[in-house]
């Protein structure tokens, strides 16, 4: 009897053990997504980290949003009017918008959120210089009163990438921008489950049943936001091989950024498909330190740019020719301000010409201190190419390898390279961050108060100011091109090629929207 009971127990346990189904929630109602990074900070205004921005798109809504063609469309806003003197913008919110805590979204919440956003965001800061006052005549209406006509109102309010002006309750938005918010309540299509959040492991969202989707079809991050899942889980898996194995086994439905090395394997694997939700892609760049020799000499910076060949960066770092694209423009090719009229910069390495330019510039052999982040696989190979191309042109290179955290700390140092500073580093930007001259950090030319590299170029600041004041699109495009011309002339940074970073999905996943680099979870279905 005992033996029979034991056998029965063993059989039952074995069956349970061998059963492939793990989840207790109906699998087709749960979307499991592997983000490109661990979600640590939850405040999208406090940090510019893309993973935090993507998290914020889940739970917050925006006043305006960018559609698939790059046009800014109303989102929480029902309608808006501009006064004849172009100094007062009146916005009306859609009725019935509600935060996850059940409270209505009011104009007071909007103004508090915009103020906090503007205290952190570069473009928000520029917009603030135009603003005389915010007014809230009623709960559904807010006004922005300007001191002069402004050409970046909608671009700013509909800004798709970090920092995005997300709308949160006024009591939360009252937190100073320099401090992180403690509550995460939005009015977006998903509700953040704080009680299930395990940093480094799992982020859980549930469908917001009260979300009021716009009637228009989804396009980019604009339009309707239909949700087809009860629950979305962000599963943090660091190891690319484990990500691949989990997708193959059906334990996850989507990997945001599989490694390039797996691209061909993923394409050939049954049950998996590869799709790109961010057609504008990303761009590699090399940033010069304008404060110290040798790159404090514009002629030497120009020589370095002539030495750069984009194809080598794409071949080495991406490794899949089909995913790369030569693009000389500092704005991503294919976007509104993309412009390949780039003068002396061809994007094709010309070491002989660069060598001659170096000689003409009187280069004295001061080494270029080039920093390489060994632990950041997405850009770790770029400095190897840069070293080779610079040396081919006659530069002396002091190649310093370090981890990313050390590089971040070192690039903030204004000391000379020999005293702990640096000469150049390479990084990558998503198209959303470099599609507008006001959001390109390398165009921040305020000298010591500017972005790392500390270029001091009043012409750039003047042109950006003109751009911000200009309303007509064709006029803006001309100024954007003029900004790029000055940027190439002064060699702010070198664009090193554009590339795509496709995502991998289970074959039954459909409805993935094309966006400016943001993986949105609405409109997605599992068949």
């Amino acid at each position: 009897m005992k033996r029979r009971l034991l056998l029965t127990l063993i059989s039952a346990l074995s069956l349970s053990c061998l059963s492939p189904a793990m989840a207790q929630t109906a699998p087709d109602k749960v979307l499991r997504f592997v983000p490109h990074a661990n979600l640590t900070v939850l405040d999208p205004i406090w940090t510019t980290a893309y993973v935090t921005r993507n998290h914020a798109y889940m739970i917050y809504d925006t006043l305006f949003s960018e559609d698939a063609k790059g046009a800014i469309k109303p989102q929480m806003v029902e309608s808006y009017q501009i006064s004849k003197d172009e100094l007062t913008w009146t916005f009306k919110l859609r009725s019935g918008l509600e935060f996850h805590d059940g409270k209505p979204v009011t104009s007071t919440d909007v103004v508090a959120s915009l103020k906090r956003w503007a205290s952190r965001d570069a473009m928000g800061g520029i917009l603030t210089t135009f603003i005389t006052a915010y007014e809230t005549p009623d709960a559904n209406t807010f006004k922005i009163v300007l001191n002069q006509p402004c050409g970046i109102m909608l671009d700013s309010l509909g800004k798709a990438s970090s920092n995005v002006p997300f709308i949160m309750p006024a009591r939360i938005a009252a937190t100073p921008g320099s401090e992180q918010i403690k509550e995460h309540i939005g009015s977006g299509p998903f509700v953040f489950k704080a009680d299930e959040f395990k940093p480094g492991a799992l982020v859980v969202y549930t469908r917001n049943p009260k979300y009021k989707s716009r009637p228009e079809a989804p396009s980019g991050v604009a339009g309707g936001r239909p949700v087809h899942f009860d629950r979305v889980e962000w599963v943090i898996i660091r190891d690319p091989q484990t990500q691949f194995n989990a997708l193959k086994a059906g334990e996850v439905d989507m990997i945001e950024q599989p490694s390039f090395e797996q691209y061909e394997t993923l394409k050939k694997t049954e049950g998996i498909k590869v799709e790109d939700f961010a057609p504008a892609g990303l761009q590699f760049i090399m940033r010069f330190n304008h404060l110290h020799a040798p790159f404090n000499n514009v002629k030497i910076r120009q020589a370095a740019m002539v030495a750069m060949g984009q194809q080598a960066y794409i071949n080495t770092q991406v490794g899949v020719p089909a995913l790369g694209r030569l693009c000389r423009s500092m704005y991503p090719c294919g976007t509104t301000y993309g412009d390949e009229d780039t003068g002396y910069f061809t994007g094709v390495a010309n070491p002989a010409k660069a060598k001659q330019m170096l000689q003409d510039a009187g280069y004295d052999g001061t080494p270029v201190l080039l920093m390489r982040p060994t632990d950041l696989a997405s850009i770790a190979k770029l400095p190897l190419v840069a070293k080779q191309q610079l040396e081919a042109a006659g530069f002396k290179v002091d190649f310093q390898q370090m981890d990313w955290a050390t590089l971040l700390a070192r690039r903030a140092k204004k000391d000379a390279p020999a005293n702990g500073g640096w000469s150049a580093f390479l990084t990558a930007w998503t198209a959303g961050d470099i599609s507008n001259p006001l959001t390109i950090q390398m165009f921040n030319a305020k000298g010591q108060n500017g972005w790392f590299g500390w270029q001091d170029e009043p012409r750039l600041e003047y042109l950006k100011n003109r751009f911000a004041r200009t309303v007509k699109p064709e006029e803006k495009k001309k100024i954007a091109s003029e900004i790029q011309r000055v940027a190439f002339e002064t060699a702010t940074h070198a664009p090193l090629g554009q590339y795509q970073q496709p995502s991998a999905f289970r074959a039954n996943v459909s409805g993935v929207l094309q966006t400016p680099g943001i993986p949105v979870m609405w409109n997605i279905k599992k068949n």
Binding site: T40, T48, K198, D403, W451
Partner: protein, 320 residues
């Protein structure tokens, strides 16, 4: 015995103080700035300086250490720079998977290695002994992550018996997805097997050597002469007398586990202390690193203490 115990526990405090000081100094003197890491790609020097002030990193190193150690003495390990959560809460969240992985590995390794090593010593030169030698070489030589990937390929991808990755707490029932006992075990079987391989090799080799040495002793010959069964000779005479080095190597193994745990947690996406440590180091999250190092130090000292105490029971000749 009691005075020995008190002396050993008292000796732990200066060890921990020195460890905390060394770790604190190494972190502060190492390149890298948590404020720059937090500020991100868009930050300016001004943003970084503001964050540094908020984190208290603009004070001198002795002042920072004084503040930190003062809090530690009150049981407060501080706040994570990155996650804005108390370090104690983070450790509490992550300790269960690591404990489950580490304890399960040790138990599995001991259950396999000790009988295997004993039998190999008993039949020295036989097929089992040779198999053990081969297994030991493989166990020591193949990196943990390679074993992990091979096991995943076989049991999760090909046979679809076990999950590839993830960990759901045995105690956690949130979202209707809390793990039952078998679900909990299923997700740990491959990590246990992966991490146990090297410890099976280590413990089995030492067991074999110790037992084979004991088997040459006079008391074994006497036991056999008395007519005891081979099983009684092996279990009650050889193995018991060989226990001290075996327990010592198990203790060392526990101390060495942390390295293997980090890799295993990464391969199987287990959110334990190993991945918390890696994240904290990469982000220069000083309070978390300091808290974890203190925790690991206390664990090592305690394991050593337990091993020393176990000698009293294993070898009556030992007295403290």
């Amino acid at each position: 015995m009691l005075s020995f115990l008190l002396r050993r526990i008292a000796a732990v405090l200066p060890v921990l103080l020195v460890v905390s000081l060394v770790v604190f100094l190494i972190l502060r003197l190492a390149p890298g700035d948590p404020a720059a890491a937090i500020a991100g790609n868009n930050a300016t020097n001004e943003d970084i300086a503001k964050i540094r002030t908020q984190l208290g990193l603009d004070s001198s190193i002795p002042v920072q250490y004084g503040i930190w150690i003062g809090r530690v003495l009150q049981g407060d390990l501080g706040y994570s720079f990155y996650l804005s959560k108390p370090v104690t809460e983070l450790i509490a969240q992550r300790i269960e998977p690591t404990l489950a992985l580490a304890l399960g590995t040790v138990i599995l390794a001991v259950l396999i290695a000790v009988p295997l090593g004993t039998l190999a010593a008993w039949r020295m030169g036989g097929w089992l002994d040779r198999l053990l030698s081969g297994f030991s070489v493989a166990g020591f030589s193949i990196p943990v992550f390679v074993i992990g990937y091979l096991l995943i390929y076989l049991f999760a991808i090909r046979l679809e018996w076990l999950p590839v990755q993830g960990y759901k707490s045995l105690l956690d029932g949130t979202g209707g997805a809390g793990a039952g006992a078998w679900t909990w075990m299923r997700q740990l079987i491959l990590p246990w097997m992966t991490l146990a391989m090297i410890y099976v090799a280590l413990i089995a080799r030492v067991t074999r050597a110790s037992v084979s040495e004991a088997l040459t002793e006079d008391y074994i010959r006497t036991a056999r002469a008395k007519g005891l069964t081979e099983r009684a000779v092996l279990l009650h005479h050889a193995l018991v007398n060989a226990a001290v080095p075996i327990v010592t190597v198990i203790g060392i193994g526990v101390a060495l586990l942390i390295g293997g745990v980090v890799v295993t947690e990464t391969v199987f996406a287990i959110p334990g202390l190993g991945s918390l440590t890696v994240d904290a180091v990469l982000n220069r999250d000083f309070p978390v690193i300091q808290g974890l190092v203190l925790l690991f130090s206390v664990s090592y000292v305690m394991v050593n203490l337990l091993v020393d105490l176990s000698y009293l029971f294993l070898d009556p000749r030992i007295r403290y």
